[in-house]
């Protein structure tokens, strides 16, 4: 009986050969186990030698080994026949399911005969005999003691009729695959093991489970026969769960013996072997079988709820498939559900299984996995799918990928291996360190601004109180006024980013690290040197600060700085020349369109400039070919996505000179100063203009190099375009903050590309020049940390009115307050404050002078001394308070004091306030907003379409159970 193990037998963990019968350590009488093993093979030539070796090493061996070949085209049949002590191979058709193949094998050869009582070990006649069926796949390899441990457990707990081993990854990995398996009532197969979980003995308790995988499943013969084997309706998925479930219902316990280890190659699950055996989509089959299993076995009282749950789940999943541009997935989902529900034969199955029920459902309830686990798994799977697809989306041509990988390998090769781990990481990923510094620096630079209320400056109105207010404001404006498009986009962003205030904080205060990150994403596509890339990204982030966008509270430039590199990356993906047949990428074009829409909304001038450049570049540079058409498409898409705003921009070209925030931003620019114009630093920026000079000089020097000039020229082109745009904008009386930012960005690209090419040079001049660049950035960063909070940006309450006036604007009072500001010998300026006061977008969506004329008239008369009627007129305009912020004009104050119908109310120190008597007059406010519902719905549809098209395609992922036996599609 002792046979020589084959040579090369060293890949098992523990190689100790059993020498005796299975002894029960508890001292119970011995049991004689008679095991019939069935191996089902299908195209398994790659794995069968290992199984063969494992069977050689196995001790004890099964008493009979039956091999079934399901129509393999390779040498599976020969290899099966060569297994130790195998019966003649049974051949069945390729479409036979696993359970059917086992049944055919048993039909052909029968169970192992019970050996005679007198054997080599003496008289065993008094020992009870238990017969077992052991199911094996062709891509698994039992450890030498697997069968022994299984039988040991079977001896110890005789009540258990089905045993399963611990499945680990082929060939000798410690990665766990399964220790028993269960299902949620939603139909989800759940092993309770995380992806990539290592076997550290954490699951090594023998326990009862709902089911075990068919790979290595040990079934008592009476159980197998009582349950009639696997359900023939389930040829592939869920057959094991259904079997286990049935066994549990019938009162045969299902146990897992973790001491028994079987290595499994998961050939079908990992795609090494084609999944076949059916014409239907594997995904559809998986879903259908899941539904069938649950419907056939679940207790009747739960059925209505379960069907509802299936419908809901199918709805969610089909939406996910529609978003992921895989409508056939949704079709699969519904055909699986409806097909199973209406014609799945589950009613017949229930009828057949009615007599099984020995154990009430409540007793086996604990074996099922909880729905929350399923939910968590779904979430994990979804996020990993998304990240994986997004990663794939931008790297979809292999030959370039190879080049990049090789270059990357070269650039990391010089990292010394003896460095400590963190330092090695830092050298390998310099941007990670730089980004952490930027993120911490952002916190330091915003030390006075975090958490003190709403961010405000003369260029930034406070954010809305809550999401609902922002959502309302995004589509509401006085008649004839278009609400700014950026409000809608900000409200979408706020939905995921802690409300309007949180979103503003993140975009403004986090602009430096976010812009740096975005720049890094873009630079990754054409800059190889990691240090150069890290420098470029950090310098780009800091450019947001030197531009003054943060300290002045210019939300538009901050957003543009974050979006610009993403647009650049998308355009790069579309426009680069590749060695593949299909040029360009529609998905990137959709994404570029979205980026352009954001630019059009937040910084119309920059958006226009880039759109013109893209269209001209598409027509003249790329020709009217696929790539050019994609670029033009993205411009058109960007214009369409912000639609009512586009019309507004055409009608009022002066709005091009503004950015998100409103008219005062038109004053941001180079002013009269030539040096500010040429260095791309707006007047009033926190950093002096000469901070940019080293960068410009190095960018000029970089033009002298010979190689890779295309990107440098592009950088210079961006800088010159920004300069020209700034010139035009400032000469036409518009703001040019974002355009000047484009100049800086262009220089940074030029320098980064140059650095990428010469970074490894040891020439002292090159190193010196790079040192200057680095030093400038470090000095700028220090300046940023120290002076970060100096700007006009401050953090404070959303309104400067007394608290009672602020709260009086809320329902149910809904009062409105007329705030009048009068400089000595100046005009009066007024604002009607209601519904939370002036918030973001209020400047753009301000009522027209004609609409506020009733108030203007009353105030004009009051300014001239008044006629005594103004109290009634104010009440008729539904104005509840008149508020004069300090310094109060004494003439106006005394006029208001003596105005009938006005009484003094309390006010902040130095201010003055009057209550308007509205008890007699039911007023009507002259300023009413109009909600543009049609535009809002159209915009929502457009954005959803655009987002769906720029997202990667979702694939139907079939959670192929490890035990699934692969089949070839017979077509």
């Amino acid at each position: 009986m002792e046979q020589e193990a084959p040579a090369g037998w060293e890949f098992f963990d523990s190689v100790d050969f059993p020498t005796d019968h299975i002894d029960d350590p508890m001292g119970r009488p011995r049991v004689r186990h008679v095991v019939t093993a069935v191996v089902v093979g299908h195209e398994g030539a790659a794995w069968l030698p290992r199984l063969s070796e494992a069977l050689w090493a196995l001790n004890p061996r099964p008493d009979r080994l039956i091999a079934v070949d399901t129509g393999s085209t390779d040498e599976t049949a020969e290899l099966l026949a060569a297994m130790p002590g195998v019966e003649s191979v049974v051949s069945v058709s390729a479409r036979t399911g696993f359970g059917m193949a086992v049944a055919r094998g048993l039909e052909a050869h029968g169970f192992a005969p019970i050996p005679s009582a007198v054997g080599p070990y003496g008289d065993d006649g008094h020992m009870p005999v238990v017969e077992w069926l052991w199911l094996l796949h062709d891509d698994c390899a039992p450890a030498p003691k697997a069968l022994e441990k299984l039988l040991l457990q079977a001896t110890m707990s005789p009540a258990t009729g089905v045993w399963g081993p611990k499945l680990r990854l082929w060939p000798r990995d410690r990665e766990l695959l399964e220790v028993g398996v269960t299902t949620s009532l939603g139909g989800r197969r759940d092993t309770g093991i995380e992806i990539g979980e290592l076997d550290q003995g954490q699951h090594d308790q023998p326990r009862n489970v709902l089911a075990v995988s068919s790979a290595g499943m040990l079934v008592r013969r009476d159980v197998w026969e009582a349950l009639h084997g696997f359900d023939p309706r389930l040829p592939m998925f869920r057959d094991d769960i259904d079997f286990g479930w049935r066994a549990s219902r019938a009162g045969y316990q299902v146990g897992v013996a973790p001491d028994a280890v079987i290595y499994h190659a998961q050939a079908a699950a990992t795609g090494e072997r084609a999944l076949a055996g059916t014409r239907r989509h594997a995904y559809q089959l998986d879903r259908a079988h899941a539904y069938y299993t649950v419907l056939a076995n679940a207790p009747g009282k739960l059925l209505p709820l379960l069907i509802l749950r299936f419908l809901f789940g199918a709805l969610l999943r089909s939406i996910w498939f529609l978003i992921g541009k895989t409508p056939s997935g949704a079709v699969d989902e519904w055909t699986a559900l409806l097909g199973t529900l209406l014609a799945g034969g589950w009613t017949q199955a229930r009828k057949n299984r009615r007599n099984l029920d020995q154990v009430p459902y409540d007793h086996i309830k604990g074996l099922f996995s909880r729905s929350v686990h399923a939910l968590r798994h779904n979430l994990e799977e979804t996020t990993s799918t998304i990240s994986e697809r997004i990663r794939e989306a931008w790297a979809d041509e292999p030959e370039e990928q190879v080049v990049t990988t090789a270059r990357r390998a070269k650039s990391t090769a010089r990292v010394a291996g003896d460095q400590p781990r963190w330092r090695r990481q830092l050298i390998r990923r310099p941007f990670l360190g730089a980004w952490v510094v930027l993120a911490i620096g952002a916190l330091i630079a915003a030390r006075d601004l975090i958490g003190g209320g709403f961010l405000r400056s003369n260029l930034l109105l406070p954010a809305h109180e809550n999401l609902a207010a922002l959502w309302h404001a995004a589509a509401s404006a006085p008649p004839g006024v278009t609400p700014p498009a950026w409000l809608a986009q900000l409200s979408a962003f706020s939905t995921v980013m802690f409300g309007p205030d949180g979103a503003t904080n993140i975009l403004l205060l986090g602009a430096v690290p976010l812009a740096g990150l975005a720049a890094w994403v873009m630079l990754r596509s054409f800059v190889v040197d990691r240090v150069a890339r890290a420098w470029g990204a950090s310098a780009y982030g800091l450019a947001v600060f030197t531009n003054g966008a943060i300290s002045q509270g210019r939300l538009g430039t901050c957003v543009a700085a974050i979006v610009l590199p993403l647009l650049g990356a998308a355009v790069h993906t579309v426009a680069r020349r590749r060695r593949v047949y299909v040029q360009g990428s529609w998905r990137a074009a959709w994404f570029a369109g979205i980026c352009l829409a954001v630019l059009f909304a937040f910084t119309p001038a920059l958006g226009l400039l880039i759109a013109v450049i893209l269209v001209l570049g598409a027509v003249f540079g790329l020709g009217w070919r696929r790539q050019g058409r994609q670029l033009v498409f993205s411009v058109v898409l960007g214009l369409l996505l912000v639609l009512p705003w586009t019309i507004d921009l055409v009608q009022h070209p002066s709005k091009l000179g503004q950015e998100a925030g409103g008219p005062p931003t038109a004053a941001v620019g180079p002013g009269d100063s030539l040096q500010h114009l040429l260095t791309g630093t707006p007047v009033g920026a926190p950093a002096p203009w000469w901070f940019a000079v080293p960068l410009i000089l190095v960018a000029l020097v970089s033009l002298l190099r010979e190689s890779r000039q295309r990107y440098e020229l592009l950088g210079w082109f961006a800088a010159l375009a920004g300069l020209a745009g700034t010139l035009v904008a400032s000469r036409l009386g518009g703001g040019s903050g974002p355009l000047m930012f484009l100049m800086t960005a262009g220089w940074i690209i030029a320098v980064t590309v140059a650095w990428d090419s010469v970074g490894k040079s040891t020439e002292i001049i090159v190193q010196g020049v790079l040192g200057i660049v680095l030093l400038t950035t470090v000095v700028t960063a220090g300046f940023w940390l120290v002076r970060g909070t100096d700007g006009p940006l401050w953090s404070g309450p959303a309104q400067d009115l007394p608290a009672y006036l602020v709260s009086s604007q809320d329902p149910p009072e809904n009062q409105s307050i007329l705030v009048v500001r009068k400089a000595p010998a100046g005009q009066m300026r007024f604002a009607l404050v209601k519904d939370g006061g002036p918030r973001m977008g209020a400047l753009e969506a301000a009522p027209t002078p004609a609409q506020s004329k009733p108030i203007t008239d009353v105030l004009a008369t009051l300014g001239g001394g008044g006629s005594g009627e103004e109290g009634r007129q104010l009440a008729a305009l539904a104005i509840d308070y008149v508020y004069l912020p300090g310094p109060v004009d004494p003439t106006l104050a005394s006029t208001l004091d003596s105005l009938p119908g006005l009484t003094r109310a309390s006010a902040n120190d130095g201010d003055a306030s009057w209550l308007v008597d509205r008890s007699k007059i039911e007023g009507k406010t002259p300023l009413n907003d109009q909600t543009h519902t049609v535009w809002r719905i159209l915009g929502l549809i457009g954005w959803i379409i655009a987002l769906v098209f720029c997202l990667p395609t979702v694939r139907r992922t079939v959670a192929v159970p490890h035990g699934t036996h692969a089949r070839r599609d017979p077509r």
């Binding site: 001239g864 109290g871 119908g901």
Partner: protein
């Protein structure tokens, strides 16, 4: 192109040239001032024609046999004055109560409307809206032959306001002065009165927080709140609502014989240069009161604008007025009975008034300091038996005025232009009129103040009751100034 750019020197040159060209453009062009104002409001008119008027016409208290009348007119306006929108509705002369019946009305522009002459007067108002409102003036006149109200008491009807000054009142026993506050609105008004006397500012709680009922009057008896205080100046301020204020003054001689009645005309708000116009010619007392409401001592210098020019009275070149106090100066010795005006120049804002009696000191009138005319000033003159004298003063350089006197039916009786030598006071005498007339004085050049005085005849008949009156000429409310107002969302934020 790309072949050209492959040469590094050309590349560098092209980029530098492009920057230089753009920089050059930046030098030769100039940035346009960005329009950061909120959507520029349509240019508002700086003034609008008044389309609503409310005048309060006070009346004397009962006493003796009185004849009281209110004459009002919506005067003929200068050529080219726009008309307010709406149809012409008559202005009513009515008692204050909302339910009362009108006692008279002004039906057409240019025609004087009068209330019925009554013996038991009640306070009246002239109110109305529409095109007739612009420039409407009225005068409340009471004459009496005997008793405490003997003589003439006449005062222009007053626009409600929030800030009034009165100088020359008294709480002493020889006077019975009452501040009458009238509220024409339908909402109660609240008034604070600050009182300044010879001894400085008075702290009088009773004069603060006075509630003037809606459509009602409130009399404030100076003898009660400020007993035995002479030479009072009062500052009437409304803190809610608008009121009209008038000070009725009944004078007595030492042995409680009535010495005339009249209204104290309002004085202009304190300023460092104030003009007291229309110091009546003739004999009698001329008492100038100067009030200094500040908390610093004021050094005032007087100059008298006589008929031949201005001069500084000997010994009174400078007058010290203590902080918060009122100072009186007898000027009849230096005036010599000439029609004059007084200019007070001070280092602190002061205000002033002039009290004038007839030679027999049986009747008096008072005129407060006045602002220079800036537009047409209208005045309804009641019927008068003696010539009324228009006194026009040009305190600074030579000024000129144009004036018209029209009769009750709007017919021009006298139309003249008058040049006034700088510093001098010119007088124009209007003959006695049995019916009310109205006067228009319009400044055409220089700084001009004016007033009308009425004095008894130099040699009165035996049974004549002396009638002394003085009416200031103030710019009438034809246009209401408007200050531009601009909608600006960011006005609500600091």
């Amino acid at each position: 192109m790309s072949r050209l750019l492959s040469d590094p020197r050309l590349r560098l040159g092209a980029v530098i040239a492009a920057m230089a060209v753009l920089a050059g453009l930046g030098v030769v062009t100039h940035p346009k001032k960005p329009d950061t104002s909120p959507a520029a409001a349509a240019t508002e008119p700086a003034r609008t024609v008044v389309n609503r008027t409310a005048l309060s016409c006070p009346v004397l208290a009962a006493g003796g046999k009185m004849a009281s009348v209110v004459n009002g007119v919506s005067p003929t306006l200068p050529e080219g004055t726009p008309t307010a929108a709406g149809t012409a509705q008559p202005l009513t002369i009515a008692p204050l109560a909302a339910t009362s019946n009108p006692v008279g009305s002004i039906l057409r522009r240019g025609f004087i409307g009068s209330s019925a002459v009554v013996v038991k007067p009640e306070p009246l108002s002239i109110q109305g809206t529409g095109p007739l409102a612009a420039g409407t003036v009225g005068t409340s006149t009471t004459t009496s032959e005997d008793g405490v109200n003997s003589g003439m008491a006449s005062v222009p009807c007053q626009q409600p306001g929030s800030d009034f000054w009165f100088v020359g009142a008294s709480g002493a026993s020889d006077r019975r002065d009452v501040l009458i506050l009238t509220n024409l609105d339908s909402i109660n008004a609240e008034v604070n009165v600050s009182v300044y006397a010879r001894t400085g500012q008075q702290d009088l709680p009773a004069a603060r927080g006075i509630v003037v009922p809606a459509r009602g009057t409130f009399p404030l008896f100076l003898k009660q709140i400020a007993p035995n205080l002479r030479d009072i100046a009062m500052h009437v301020e409304s803190t809610g609502g608008r009121v009209s204020a008038a000070v009725r003054s009944n004078a007595l001689t030492g042995d409680s014989v009535p010495a005339g009645v009249d209204w104290l005309n309002t004085s202009a708000a304190p300023a460092t240069k104030v003009f007291v116009p229309a110091v009546a010619p003739g004999g009698g007392l001329r008492i100038l009161s100067i009030a200094n409401p500040t908390d610093l001592q004021a050094t005032a210098s007087l100059s008298i604008n006589g008929p031949n020019g201005s001069f500084k009275p000997a010994g009174l070149e400078t007058v010290q007025v203590a902080a918060g106090s009122v100072k009186t100066i007898m000027l009849d010795p230096v005036l010599h009975g000439d029609p004059s005006a007084i200019t007070v120049t001070s280092d602190q804002p002061v205000t002033a008034s002039m009290r004038m009696t007839d030679a027999a000191r049986t009747e008096f009138a008072s005129i407060g300091s006045a602002d220079a005319l800036t537009g047409p000033a209208y005045l309804v003159l009641p019927a008068h038996k003696q010539p009324a004298v228009l006194q026009v003063t040009a305190p600074g350089k030579t000024g000129s005025v144009k004036f018209e006197l029209r009769d009750a039916a709007g017919r021009a009786m006298i139309t003249r232009a008058l040049d006034v030598v700088g510093g001098a006071t010119s007088q124009v005498s209007f003959p006695a009129q049995p019916r009310p007339t109205y006067l228009m004085v319009q400044q055409t050049r220089g700084t001009v103040v004016a007033g009308v005085t009425l004095m008894p005849a130099a040699k009165p008949a035996k049974d004549d009751v002396a009638q002394v009156a003085a009416w200031p000429l103030t710019t009438s409310l034809v246009f209401r100034a408007q200050l531009g107002a601009q909608p600006d969302v960011s006005a609500a934020l600091r």
